[in-house]
């Protein structure tokens, strides 16, 4: 590992938990969201520096999209004044402090206590390919199953949560076209 990598690792390693602490100290929902996003982007940087560029960049990519969507829902559906309103994000302060301290201590202890295996083979030049074969080669069945389960969950949850059913949209005989929606959509169904 070069000096640049070590410096980067150090900087990102400090920034990530620092932004994480900000998540619990800032008092605006918008700022909290973006502190968490910054922390996760630092984690993506750490993963990249550690030699997994694909996973690192994908973490940044996915987290930006996910946190933005989360920001929308958090702010839109918060039942108290979110956003700029001064508010605390902490629930059950004492208990959570104990739990997080214990988990953190356990993880740090794990770093030193686990007998990590030494490297046997040569380090591959492009780890993206290895990450791909590891996921899609041996674990293809798992991934395919997981994918379908996730998709089915999302579709199912949306169908259950939606206010209006198909009889509201298509009429009692399901023959009403286009559907009766509050606003027309793109392809006129």
């Amino acid at each position: 590992m070069s000096t640049t990598d070590l410096v980067l690792l150090g900087v990102l390693g400090v920034l990530a938990p620092a932004c994480g602490v900000l998540v619990f100290t800032l008092d605006s929902m918008a700022r909290v969201t973006f502190a968490l996003l910054a922390s996760l982007c630092c984690v993506g940087g750490v993963v990249t520096v550690l030699g997994l560029p694909y996973l690192g960049v994908v973490i940044v990519l996915m987290m930006v999209m996910e946190m933005l969507i989360m920001a929308v829902f958090m702010i839109a559906y918060m039942m108290n004044p979110a956003g700029l309103m001064p508010m605390s994000m902490l629930h059950n302060k004492g208990g959570s402090l104990v739990v997080s301290a214990v988990v953190f201590a356990a993880l740090v202890a794990g770093i030193f206590a686990v007998p990590w295996p030494g490297r046997t083979g040569v380090r591959p030049k492009d780890t993206t390919f290895q990450a791909g074969t590891a996921l899609m080669g041996d674990q293809m069945l798992t991934m395919v199953t997981l994918g379908f389960v996730l998709l089915a969950t999302m579709v199912g949850a949306t169908v259950l949560a939606t206010h209006r059913g198909r009889y509201d949209r298509f009429g009692d005989d399901l023959d009403q076209r286009p559907a009766k929606d509050p606003a027309g959509a793109g392809v006129g169904r």
Partner: protein
């Protein structure tokens, strides 16, 4: 290096103009639009984007408050000029540019602005409304979505909250209500108008938004009864009704120009600036007295591009449906009633009407106001057609998304000057 001088010269080289049209100022607005287009002075949509505030039209005391708010929001270096009629616009624009360029003028303004700010501070904290403007009785929460929707008493969730805390900017919080999709969301009261870009002059619609869905719409008209300044678009009809000789060709020309003006606004709101400029050029040429043959080719191209645009039809279909029967029942006549459909039907009707009128520009027969409809329809029992258009607006706007609401208003394009003219006439007769 004289940095202030550089900024002043840069601002004056190509001032961005916030055009605020007062009721009755249609002729001046058209002249201002024409000059800005020819001089390449871009038109700003909010004070934050502008250097020069150009107020056009006869003075209207009821809108002074809203104008002052626009002015307060204009960042320095800035200038403010008022052109009461079309003839004064060119001179006022030059004057504004000179003001922008001179450091003395800017310093003077900075002094008065500071004094005004001190005055405002002594009063309650007011909001700075954007060009979204505000009615006369601006409520301080309208611009501010952040002041969420808290009503106290939410004990669930266990959030630690200080109830007596200071709100950001000293703003009140929004209340909540059921929304269109069965969710309980914040309500936000946002005034549309009176100085919104591409918006009927003098019209204010106070909408209650949840998300960007209009839950309620309430119309306010800023124009005082019988204000000075004629109703520009219906002038030939008013003159004919008063017994002056007016040819049908002249009326057809005015009507076609009025439709092109409405189309330009609709296209601007629909986000098609290139075609909006084409419509404005055609309108200006027609008002300038260009013969039909001179504009026929360009009009044809414009009508083809806009009328046959599948993208525009796809984006506007199903929005603001107003059937012919509904329209007639509400007293709507003119293109909106004949189109009998959505926004797409209405702009196509305008295009068809413009094409028909283009063939009639040379007609020398006298105008019969009762048989030949005005740009927005017939006057019945001294009721101007725009009054009926205003009547159907709240119902059409309710439940529409903000972008759709703007399209609906632009596709009906009521002319508030007609209302004022009707009141003045009623006053004269009564």
């Amino acid at each position: 290096m004289d940095v202030t001088g550089l900024a002043l010269r840069a601002a004056a080289a190509r001032p961005r103009v916030l055009l605020a049209a007062l009721p009755g100022g249609t002729a001046a607005r058209l002249e201002a639009g024409r000059l800005l287009r020819l001089r390449d002075w871009p038109s700003a949509a909010t004070p934050a984007q502008a250097d020069l505030l150009l107020v056009v039209g006869p003075d209207c005391p009821r809108l002074h408050g809203a104008l002052d708010r626009l002015w307060r929001d204009l960042p320095a270096p800035r200038a403010r000029v008022h052109a009461a009629d079309a003839g004064a616009v060119g001179a006022r624009l030059d004057e504004g540019r000179a003001l922008l360029r001179s450091s003395a003028g800017q310093r003077e303004q900075a002094g008065t602005a500071a004094a005004a700010a001190r005055d405002a501070d002594r009063k309650q904290p007011e909001t700075s409304a954007g060009a979204d403007g505000s009615g006369d009785e601006e409520d301080p929460g309208s611009r501010h979505p952040h002041g969420g929707g808290h009503h106290g008493g939410h004990s669930g969730g266990g959030m630690d909250m200080d109830m007596g805390m200071e709100m950001p900017g000293g703003l009140p919080m929004a209340e909540q209500g059921e929304d269109r999709d069965g969710l309980t969301l914040d309500r936000l009261h946002v005034p549309l108008g009176p100085f919104l870009a591409d918006w009927p002059a003098g019209l204010t619609i106070r909408v209650t938004l949840q998300g960007d869905v209009v839950q309620e719409a309430e119309l306010r008209e800023a124009a005082p009864p019988g204000h000075a300044g004629g109703a520009f678009w219906v002038q030939p009809w008013l003159r004919a009704a008063a017994g002056e000789p007016v040819t049908a060709g002249e009326a057809a020309r005015r009507r076609a120009a009025a439709h092109l003006d409405s189309l330009a606004r609709l296209l601007a709101v629909a986000g098609w600036p290139a075609e909006a400029v084409a419509a404005r050029r055609l309108r200006d040429d027609l008002l300038d007295g260009a013969p039909g043959t001179a504009v026929a080719l360009r009009l044809d191209r414009f009508a083809r591009r806009v009328g046959r645009s599948r993208a525009l039809a796809w984006l506007t279909r199903g929005i603001g449906r107003l059937s012919t029967a509904q329209a007639r029942q509400a007293g709507v006549s003119g293109p909106a009633a004949r189109a009998g459909g959505d926004v797409a039907d209405r702009y196509r009707q305008w295009l068809a009407d413009i094409r028909r009128d283009l063939g009639r520009l040379a007609e020398g027969s006298p105008l019969a106001p009762a048989a030949d409809e005005g740009p927005r329809g017939y006057w019945r029992d001294d009721r101007p057609p725009s009054a009926a258009l205003m009547k159907v607006l709240p119902e059409l706007l309710t439940g529409a998304e903000l972008a759709a609401a703007r399209l609906i208003v632009a596709s009906l394009d009521p002319d508030l000057d007609e209302l004022a003219a009707a009141r003045r006439e009623a006053g004269a007769h009564g």
